[in-house]
Symmetry: C2
Subunit: 343 residues, 2 copies
């Protein structure tokens, strides 16, 4: 879980890959956003994203059932499509399991995929299966379509408000509970269920993403996979601006706060750096915020909370306390093993 900054050679490699993708035919957006945006044969816009999940890097079999693994592997991809305001359509599933895996476990894995996929009209259209010499390996590629102009990371402007859907830190709270050998004392069972479900079975914000993209006034959007600090830095860097977040305005649920107290963790740290919340982070014109907040609530029941503003600068993110003083927070979630990075 030690955050790691990409090395210089790594940044150079990513820059070279981005430059190649930028020049490629039919590529509206290549590397550097949640999805690639491609000019499909026939002229429509296709969204494409891929995520690789590896046992003991992204999940542990001790508490993640096969159905949870399937659900989450699809959910992280669905969330990428949601963050562009798109409609998820077709999934390709690659699965490698140890020889000891039973067919019941494989079936349960697909049941988890279908349980989430059916909610979002996602069809499994292909795949690959293999033996794995070590643990479970899952790769899902998800294709979707852009129903309007996709909302990118790069559209934020100085003066825009920064907002998030739902609440933050729940998944990190769930992970803290799951990683313990026994449940923390003095936390209600419902609170434990809320946070562990948030970690094991995240609910990507597809209808929220589509509503927000269509509503007008949203200038940039990203899903919160690596944590607010890291993901907002992506928005700031891609938009060539800086971001300021008021820590006191971060939406943190009661269950997350209860678990933080019981396990002696910092709920605000989970909210800024925990990652895997799969909420949407967006920027919008200040004049649009109230319309977006109330409209999203009416249309989907999901809250939208203003947490800061875009400022002049070159890609930094500053977190400030109630007195307006800058506070240092960790850069975000990097999974169990050092070195995981999601593009």
């Amino acid at each position: 879980m030690t955050p790691r900054e990409p090395r210089l050679t790594e940044l150079a490699l990513i820059r070279a890959l981005r430059e190649r993708a930028r020049q490629a035919p039919g590529v509206r957006v290549g590397i550097g956003d949640d999805c690639a945006v491609l000019e499909a044969p026939g002229g429509g816009l296709l969204l494409a994203t891929t995520d690789l999940l590896i046992e003991d890097v992204h999940f542990r079999r001790r508490y993640a059932e096969p159905a949870d693994i399937g659900w989450k592997a699809l959910a992280v991809n669905v969330s990428d499509i949601a963050s562009m305001g798109g409609r998820p359509r077709w999934a390709l599933i690659a699965l490698a399991c140890p020889a000891s895996t039973t067919m019941d476990e494989v079936e349960a894995f697909y049941e988890g995929i279908h349980a989430l996929g059916d909610e979002h009209d996602v069809s499994v259209v292909g795949g690959d299966t293999s033996a794995s010499p070590a643990g479970w390996v899952v790769n899902i590629t998800l294709l979707g379509e852009a129903t309007g102009a996709p909302i990118l990371r790069s559209g934020a402007r100085v003066g825009d408000m920064i907002a998030v859907t739902g609440d933050l830190g729940r998944s990190a709270a769930g992970l803290a509970v799951l990683e313990r050998r026994e449940a923390p004392a003095r936390v209600p069972a419902e609170a434990l269920a809320v946070v562990t479900a948030a970690h094991l079975r995240p609910r990507p914000r597809v209808k929220e993403g589509r509503w927000l993209a269509a509503a007008g006034g949203v200038t940039a959007m990203i899903d919160l996979s690596d944590g607010l600090a890291t993901d907002l830095r992506h928005v700031a860097e891609e938009s060539r601006a800086a971001a300021r977040v008021d820590l006191g305005r971060l939406p943190i649920g009661a269950a997350t706060r209860d678990v933080a107290v019981a396990t002696k963790h910092d709920a605000v740290g989970w909210a800024t750096g925990g990652g895997e919340d799969y909420e949407l982070l967006l920027t919008c014109e200040p004049s649009a915020f109230e319309r977006l907040r109330s409209g999203l609530g009416s249309a989907t029941g999901t809250t939208l909370t203003a947490i800061g503003a875009m400022e002049p600068g070159a890609g930094g993110v500053t977190f400030v306390d109630a007195d307006g003083h800058a506070v240092a927070v960790g850069p975000g979630f990097e999974h169990f093993a050092s070195g995981a990075r999601r593009e």
Copy 2:
């Protein structure tokens, strides 16, 4: 490398997945062919395929350099698009490496991808990178477009001729050389280079696939990834017919025969069961064969060899010797660890 027949419950799961995909909106062809064929936003036909390659299941680091791994991981997907007669376009690359991996190795991996990708106008448009607790894991999803009606596995008719491009067994010969601690004696260096290159850097038959699909008269096509016996069985099953192959007509190169003699292997066994040749296997109207053979030769320089015919039956493949007697051959290549299966 022990071939493994799917268990009954596994077949039931695949059947259920296929049935779901068949009913899904926008899915022209789902699970059960080399690529999914999807109705892209805008109305064109999109091809999509994914392949997962795992160290010590699909390759060994002892002889596969990072650039070889990148090349081959892309090649196996490009070959799937080729087998539908399609045009490969965009790749999504997921890579997980052990912590000991150097940036030079990661760069070399991408150089291998670009070396093949540039030959076929394939652009890398997205990806994911991660730590791996064990060895290298590579997943590539490749998107392409159908330039005409995709050629499926299911179109073979009783009486059709069966033919293959290039020659067979080279990759298996290369693997046999690479798996040895020292090069076999009395085999010319050029022969060793031919077979090891076939294994490490296969050349997918894209222009051949497009030419054959456009030429008319080809009724079914598949790429030879799992070996002639297995892949032809797929064609026979999907086409609800049987296949008969004359062993004496299998095209086997001099280098493959030389290596087989020197290593005391059976070149015909490599040709029928070795796998990973990434040649195209097709069926065609008998009256079209000579036109296809000479036309393909003129257009691409690649040979097309008739090896048998489709017969009435329910999915079986029979190999016959010069006297017309049935000969038992292994069902095909299943990688180092039992249980690998490519859909």
